[in-house]
C-alpha cells in the first residue's frame, strides 16, 4: 500500500492520519465531550487528594455543619465550596467520591455485561444450532426483565442469603451483577450477528482449513472484527449503567447513604428540592448529567465514526 514511504509510519502517526481521528478533530462537540469525560475521570481518580473532606468517613462529618449553602451565599462557610448536606457532608467532596463510585459501578457493570454478552454471542453465532437457540431464548427471557426488576430480585435474594445487611463492597458487587445481567443481551445479539457474517468469510474458512481450533479462530480472528460495535455499545451502556445505578438508588436498592454514589446523592438530595436547599441535589445532578451526556456524545460520535456507511 505505502511502498513509497521509506519508513513505515508508527501506529500513533497512523492513528493521527486516520479517518476516525480526522472526524474527531472536525467535531468540536466530540472534543468537548472527550475533555469533559477525561476531566470527570481525573476528578474521580484524584478524589482522595483533592477533596477537602472524606465524605465516607463518618468521623469527619459534623452535624453542626449541616445544610450550609454554597460559599458565595451569605451563610456559606469555608471550606464547603458548594455547601453541605443534611449530615454536614461537603457536597463537593461527595460529588468527587460519588463520581468515583458511579464510574466504578458503571465500568465494572459494562465489563461484566460486555464480557458475558460477547462470549455468549460468539458462542451462539459460531456454533449455531441448539446452543444458539438456547442462548437466544435465554436472551428473550432476560429481556422481559429490565435492570430494575433484576436488581430487586438479585438484591432480595442476596440479602436473604447473606442473612441481613451487606457491606458496601457487596452492594457494589450486587449492582454490578444486576447491571451485568440486564445488559448482556445487546452485546450478545450484536456479536452474534457479526459472527454470523464473519464466519463465512474467507479468512475464517481458511483458518478452519489450516486446522485452527474453534476458540482460537473465534478469539483471534472473529472477535477483533466485531469489537467496533461492541465498543460503541459499551460506551453507551456505560452511560446507561450509571443511570441505572442512580435509579436503583431511587428505589432503595442502590448504594447506602453513608457511602453515596452520584445516584444516592441525587435520591437523598431530591428530598431538599422543594425546601430551598437546592445545592444538595443540583451539583450531584449536574455532575451526573454532565458525565452521562459527555459519555453519550462520545459514544454517539464513535458510532458514526466507526460506521463506514455514514462516512
Amino acid at each position: 500500500m505505502s511502498l513509497a514511504s521509506a519508513t513505515p509510519p508508527s501506529r500513533w502517526a497512523k492513528f493521527l492520519d486516520s479517518d476516525v481521528f480526522a472526524s474527531f478533530r472536525r467535531s468540536k462537540l466530540a472534543m468537548a465531550a472527550l475533555a469533559v469525560t477525561v476531566l470527570f475521570f481525573a476528578l474521580a481518580i484524584a478524589a482522595p487528594w483533592i477533596s477537602p473532606q472524606n465524605p465516607y468517613d463518618p468521623a469527619q462529618l459534623d452535624l453542626i455543619n449541616s445544610n450550609l449553602p454554597p460559599i458565595w451565599s451569605p451563610d456559606g462557610q469555608s471550606p464547603f465550596l458548594v455547601g453541605t448536606d443534611d449530615q454536614g457532608r461537603d457536597v463537593l467532596s461527595a460529588v468527587f467520591y460519588g463520581l468515583r463510585l458511579s464510574l466504578v459501578v458503571g465500568l465494572l457493570g459494562v465489563l461484566v455485561s460486555g464480557t458475558l454478552g460477547a462470549a455468549l454471542g460468539l458462542i451462539a453465532g459460531y456454533f449455531g444450532g441448539f446452543v444458539d437457540t438456547l442462548i437466544m431464548r435465554v436472551a428473550d427471557v432476560q429481556l422481559t426483565f429490565p435492570a430494575i426488576l433484576i436488581a430487586l430480585v438479585v438484591d432480595g435474594v442476596a440479602k436473604a442469603a447473606a442473612g441481613g445487611g451487606l457491606d458496601t463492597n457487596a452492594t457494589i458487587g450486587l449492582i454490578v451483577v444486576s447491571i451485568g445481567l440486564s445488559f448482556w443481551v445487546q452485546y450478545a445479539r450484536t456479536v452474534r450477528s457479526s459472527v454470523l457474517v464473519e464466519k463465512n468469510k474467507d479468512y475464517v474458512q481458511a483458518g478452519r482449513l489450516i486446522g485452527l481450533s474453534s476458540p482460537v479462530i473465534m478469539v483471534r480472528h472473529v472477535l477483533p472484527n466485531v469489537l467496533g460495535p461492541v465498543f460503541v455499545i459499551a460506551t453507551i451502556n456505560l452511560a446507561l449503567a450509571i443511570i441505572t445505578e442512580a435509579t436503583l438508588s431511587f428505589l432503595g436498592t442502590g448504594l447506602p447513604e453513608t457511602m453515596p454514589s452520584l445516584g444516592t446523592l441525587i435520591r437523598t438530595g431530591n428530598r431538599f428540592l422543594f425546601s430551598g436547599e437546592w445545592w444538595i441535589v443540583a451539583f450531584p445532578g449536574l455532575a451526573l448529567a454532565g458525565l452521562v451526556l459527555a459519555i453519550n456524545l462520545l459514544g454517539d460520535w464513535l458510532r458514526d465514526a466507526l460506521n463506514p456507511k455514514l462516512q
Partner: protein, 532 residues
C-alpha cells in the same frame, strides 16, 4: 372519519365528562393524602395509626377519646363500676348501622368476641380476662378477674361491628389472611359512624360520604372526603401546594418552610406519642459481624454508658429533626407519664465516653453493625447516619444497614431478633408506661409469655420485671406513678436503652380546612371542616 362519527364521538365524550364530573357539583369535598394506604376496612385487622383513624370515621367505639385524649362517651352513653371488677356500660339508643339495622347489646357482645378471635390485631384492646354479659338490650357488663386501672384505655380503638351484618356476609371471623377467599369485611364496612365508605379501591382511592342517619351531631361540614395514597414525598408536597389535596401526612421536615410559605397551606405540628430510641443486643455472647470476638461489648454497662454519652441528641433534634423533636430521657412521651419532668437526659460527653470505652477494654473502639429503617419514622435514616458519625468520633465504627421497613422488621423482630444495634420507635398502645416496662424492656426469657416481645436487644433485669407486675395491678395512681418511676430509674442506671426523642407530627393542611390534631396522630374526619 366522517362528520357524523366525529359528532357522535364528541357527544359521547361530553356525556362522559358530564358523568365524570357530576359528583363534584356543589358538594363540599375534602381531599387528603397519606404516604401509606388504608390497609383494610376490617377494624380488627391492622393496628396502624392512620388506618385506625380512618376506621373511626365509619365505626364508633363504646368509649371514645376527646380532643385532649380524655375518655369520652361513644356508643356507651355512660358507664360505671358497681364493683372493682365489674364495668357497666349504658348503650346509646336509636343508633343505626349504615345498613339501617339498629345497634344493640348483642353487637357489643359479638364485637367483644370477634376482637379477641384469632386473626385480630386488637386482642389486647380488651383485658384478656374480660367477660361480657348482656344485661338488657342497651346495657352490657364487663367482668374482670382482678382490678385493672387501665382496663378502658384502649377501648377507643375497639370499634363496634354489626352482628347480623357480619353473619350475613360471612365475616364473623376477623379477616383470615390464609383463607382462599377474601374477607367481606376487608372491602366493605357497616359501622355506626358519621361517614360511609362509598368506594374503596385499595392502594388507589377511598371515598367517604356523610351518613345521613348518624345518631349524633357532627362537627364536620363535609359532604364527602376522598382519600388517595401518595407515597412519594415530593409528589405529596406538590399536591398540597398545588391545591390538589387539602391535607397530607407527613410533611417532610425540610419542606415545612415551603409549605408554610406557599400561601395555600400550613404545617400543623404537634408532639407525637412515639418515642425514637436505640437498642443494643445484650443477649448474644458474641455480637454478629463485630470486630470483637468471643464477647459482647454491650453486655458491659460501661460500654452502654459510653454509647449513650457519645450521642449528641440535642444536635440531632436541632439539625436532623430541624427542631421538630423533643429530646427524651424516657421511653415514654411526657404527656403519658405525669412525672416525666423528673428525668433528665445525661449530658453528652465524648471525652468520658472514650474513657469508659478504654476502661472497658476498648481503647480503640470496636466495629458493630447497625440496623435502621429508612421509611418508617421521620428522618430515620438521617438520624442513624448522625449516630454513626458521632460514634465514629469516640472510636466505635458502625456499619449502617438502612433498609425499607418491610425488610428491616423482618430482620430485627421476633423470632430472629437478628440485630446488634438498632433504631426503633414505639407508641404504647395503652398510652401507659406499663406497656413499656412489660413489652419493651421486660425479660424475654419465657418464650410462652408476650413479655419482652419487642425487647429486641434482650435487656433483662428481673427486678424490673417484678416492678412491672406490680404496676399492672396497682390502682392507686400516686403509688403507681412511683412504681413506674422506680422502674425507669433502673433502666437509666443500667443504660439499658438510649432514648432519643419524641418526633413531632407534621400535617400539611390547606388554609381552607380546620381540624383537630391529637398526639396520637389520628386524622378524624368528624372534626374536619372546610370552607366550601
Amino acid at each position: 372519519m366522517s362528520i357524523s362519527r366525529i359528532r357522535t364521538l364528541a357527544a359521547a365524550t361530553s356525556l362522559a365528562i358530564a358523568l365524570g364530573m357530576a359528583p363534584a357539583q356543589a358538594a363540599n369535598v375534602f381531599r387528603f393524602a397519606f404516604q401509606g394506604d388504608i390497609k383494610s376496612l376490617d377494624p380488627y385487622s391492622l393496628k396502624e395509626s392512620f388506618t385506625i383513624g380512618m376506621h373511626a370515621a365509619v365505626y364508633d367505639a363504646l368509649i371514645t377519646r376527646d380532643k385532649d385524649l380524655n375518655l369520652a362517651p361513644g356508643l356507651a352513653e355512660s358507664w360505671e363500676t358497681p364493683e372493682p371488677t365489674r364495668w357497666r356500660f349504658h348503650l346509646r339508643k336509636n343508633v343505626k348501622f349504615h345498613d339501617g339495622s339498629p345497634f344493640t347489646a348483642d353487637d357489643v357482645l359479638f364485637s367483644a368476641d370477634r376482637v379477641r378471635a384469632s386473626g385480630s390485631s386488637f386482642t389486647t384492646n380488651i383485658p384478656s380476662d374480660a367477660k361480657f354479659v348482656k344485661v338488657d338490650d342497651h346495657t352490657v357488663d364487663m367482668v374482670l378477674s382482678k382490678p385493672n386501672p387501665i382496663a378502658l384505655y384502649q377501648f377507643s380503638t375497639w370499634y363496634i361491628m354489626s352482628k347480623a351484618w357480619a353473619e350475613k356476609n360471612g365475616a364473623v371471623a376477623p379477616s383470615p389472611v390464609s383463607a382462599s377467599a377474601p374477607s367481606y369485611a376487608t372491602l366493605h364496612e357497616n359501622g355506626t359512624g358519621p361517614f360511609v365508605i362509598t368506594e374503596h379501591q385499595p392502594g388507589v382511592r377511598t371515598v367517604f360520604k356523610k351518613f345521613p342517619g348518624y345518631w349524633g351531631k357532627v362537627e364536620s361540614n363535609l359532604d364527602e372526603a376522598v382519600f388517595t395514597t401518595i407515597s412519594n414525598d415530593a409528589t405529596r408536597v406538590a399536591a398540597l401546594i398545588g391545591g390538589e389535596v387539602d391535607w397530607i401526612d407527613p410533611v417532610p421536615l425540610q419542606d415545612q418552610q415551603r409549605v408554610n410559605a406557599s400561601g395555600t397551606a400550613t404545617v400543623m405540628t404537634g408532639p407525637e406519642l412515639r418515642t425514637i430510641f436505640l437498642g443494643m443486643d445484650q443477649v448474644r455472647d458474641e455480637l454478629k459481624d463485630s470486630s470483637v470476638k468471643g464477647k459482647n461489648p454491650f453486655k458491659d454497662v460501661r460500654v452502654r454508658e459510653a454509647m449513650y454519652l457519645a450521642i449528641d441528641e440535642d444536635t440531632i433534634a436541632k439539625r436532623v429533626m430541624r427542631g421538630q423533636a423533643t429530646p427524651s430521657a424516657l421511653m415514654i412521651a411526657p404527656s403519658l407519664y405525669a412525672r416525666s419532668a423528673e428525668f433528665k437526659r445525661p449530658a453528652t460527653d465524648a471525652k468520658k465516653a472514650k474513657a469508659l470505652l478504654a476502661e472497658a477494654g476498648y481503647p480503640d473502639g470496636f466495629t458493630v453493625p447497625m440496623d435502621c429503617p429508612n421509611d418508617r419514622y421521620v428522618n430515620d435514616e438521617a438520624i442513624c447516619q448522625a449516630v454513626v458519625s458521632m460514634l465514629a468520633r469516640v472510636g466505635v465504627k458502625v456499619n449502617l444497614n438502612a433498609q425499607p421497613k418491610a425488610k428491616y422488621f423482618a430482620k430485627v423482630l421476633a423470632p430472629n431478633y437478628d440485630t446488634s444495634f438498632y433504631l426503633l420507635g414505639w407508641t404504647p398502645s395503652s398510652q401507659d408506661s406499663h406497656n413499656i416496662l412489660y413489652e419493651m424492656v421486660g425479660c424475654r426469657t419465657d418464650p410462652k409469655s408476650s413479655r419482652g416481645g419487642w425487647n429486641l436487644g434482650g435487656y433483662c433485669n428481673t427486678k424490673l420485671d417484678a416492678i412491672a407486675d406490680q404496676v399492672e395491678g396497682e390502682t392507686d395512681p400516686a403509688k403507681r406513678d412511683q412504681e413506674i418511676m422506680d422502674g425507669f430509674e433502673i433502666l437509666q442506671k443500667d443504660w439499658a436503652v438510649i432514648p432519643l426523642h419524641q418526633q413531632a407530627l407534621a400535617w400539611g393542611v390547606s388554609k381552607k380546612v380546620t381540624l383537630t390534631q391529637r398526639p396520637d396522630n389520628l386524622l378524624l374526619l368528624y372534626w374536619v371542616s372546610k370552607q366550601p
